[in-house]
Point group: C2
């Protein structure tokens, strides 16, 4: 059980935490140095200036997220599903053997079409440990939401949903943008619920999105309520496709405001949301490090 | 039976045709003077300069399209479904009584959510007359596709699908734009078919759209084929929601290239496409004029 430098190096941010053998976070740091800001060949210098002083002899560094992609520091090819902690740990890509490694993402293929995630797998494994679960259904809402099925501690299945991005496209670039207020008004829970209900009982977002325009045209909804209504439409569309049953529980891991919206939307289906505390990524990386150490 | 000046005045273009009592088009004109180019109060002048010389005594002018909207020349409020030619003809909005009128659009409401169309109703009535049909299922593909159900010559039901606009948003403004070639390559029928199939057998566009990225990432499809694949995804998504049965026939009214794509996509469902010749709007306006004349 070594001292661990756990790093989450994504597209737009770089976070690191120094974690002792018992899993305690001693210190953490955050930098606006996502991989998009790093030139080819520039990763060692950014790493050294950010965390060099923590890399004392015997410290292991594991890096989750897009730093392990083709555009990152060192590509760690995707592990195919089903994938558990041990599968991830045996497929680390060593930048410096025994010292610094990138963590692979996970891939799946259905009917000849692949799907991928990178970074979320570590969050998921950490969440399972924090919650003490071996089987779970999880959603990580965001620009590209991930729905993940875990069976016996392994990621059995997952899928990507471009829900946050569709919202932003419709909000900013579609004909609906003319109807919506330029600045974001406060969240309107009633309008959000109307959007979720309409999505759950209609034939698809290509059709329901147009209702943002007609509800405005017929003065059925004030302009300030329309962004929340649209948010309900896209999130409801995502939930509708998940084949959830009344009484199910879903683990929701996102920002506070998004988690609250998903909780509100899931309630329409009689599904409970379970939250995870902070530190899922750190907990996941600590567990991968422990697996490496005992292998 | 009077001489008719039939006008189709839409958002981005202005077309007019001079039609004799027998329905023969004597002459037609086209101007880049859609209603978006006309300042408030400017409609009479644009009309006069475009068609004034055709408005000899006894000539009736009927104007379909967005010129009849709130932002147009004279608002003709929507007729509620079910709506037939006679309903439209009795709700014309007269700019000059007995001489110039705008044609109302059609509206419908389900579960408190309205839907609208304006201009397409006239095309639909014209198509029914050109094809000799009293009952039909029609699609008018485009930026906002319309699906229309006609029973006994009346528009019984319709719905709007933002299919063309979603394609453009994903093509130009989404993360997928980075993967797609900047210029549009030639239509790739095989990739289009793959997109349609994936949409028909998957859980929704929020999910399937991401496959444009992963197919590229895993080098399963060349970049030049991706725009056609994406087109297949969005059109397939639209068709999937229409509850079509094997053996059905759908009347398709669009540009040549879009009509061909819908025909290709409908074939995946065992549905036949029936085309309509040119002049559906002129035929529809002639029929409305005849209804007015005999009322």
């Amino acid at each position: 059980m070594t001292r661990l430098l756990a790093v989450d190096w994504g597209t737009s941010s770089l976070r690191g935490a120094l974690i002792d053998a018992g899993g305690r976070v001693l210190e953490d740091r955050h930098f606006a140095r996502g991989i998009l800001t790093v030139a080819a060949g520039g990763f060692p210098d950014v790493f050294e200036s950010s965390f060099g002083d923590w890399m004392t002899p015997g410290t292991l560094c594991l890096i989750a997220g897009m730093a392990g992609s083709r555009q990152g520091w060192r590509e760690a090819p995707y592990c195919a599903c089903p994938a558990g902690l041990a599968d991830i740990a045996t497929h680390l890509e060593w930048v410096e053997p025994g010292r610094i490694a990138t963590v692979p993402g996970v891939s799946i293929e259905r009917r000849g079409v692949p799907d991928v995630m990178r970074g979320e797998e570590t969050q998921v494994f950490g969440a399972l440990l924090l919650l003490g679960l071996a089987d779970a259904r999880l959603v990580l809402p965001g620009t590209h939401s991930k729905w993940v099925d875990v069976r016996d501690r392994r990621i059995n299945h997952f899928s990507t949903w471009m829900t946050g991005e569709f919202y932003a496209l419709l909000r900013q670039h579609s004909i609906l943008a003319r109807t919506l207020p330029a600045a974001d008004p406060a969240h309107d829970a009633g309008a959000f619920d109307q959007g979720v209900e309409h999505a759950l009982h209609s034939q698809g977002l290509l059709h329901t999105a147009f209702s943002v325009r007609t509800l405005s045209l017929f003065e059925r909804m004030p302009a300030d309520a329309l962004p929340s209504y649209l948010s309900g439409l896209v999130i409801g569309e995502e939930l509708k496709a998940q084949a959830l049953d009344h009484g199910d529980t879903v683990v929701v891991m996102g920002t506070e405001s998004l988690t609250a919206r998903y909780e509100q939307a899931l309630a329409h289906l009689g599904v409970s949301a379970r939250r995870v505390g902070d530190g899922a990524t750190w907990r996941g990386l600590r567990a991968i490090a422990d697996t490496v150490a005992t292998a």
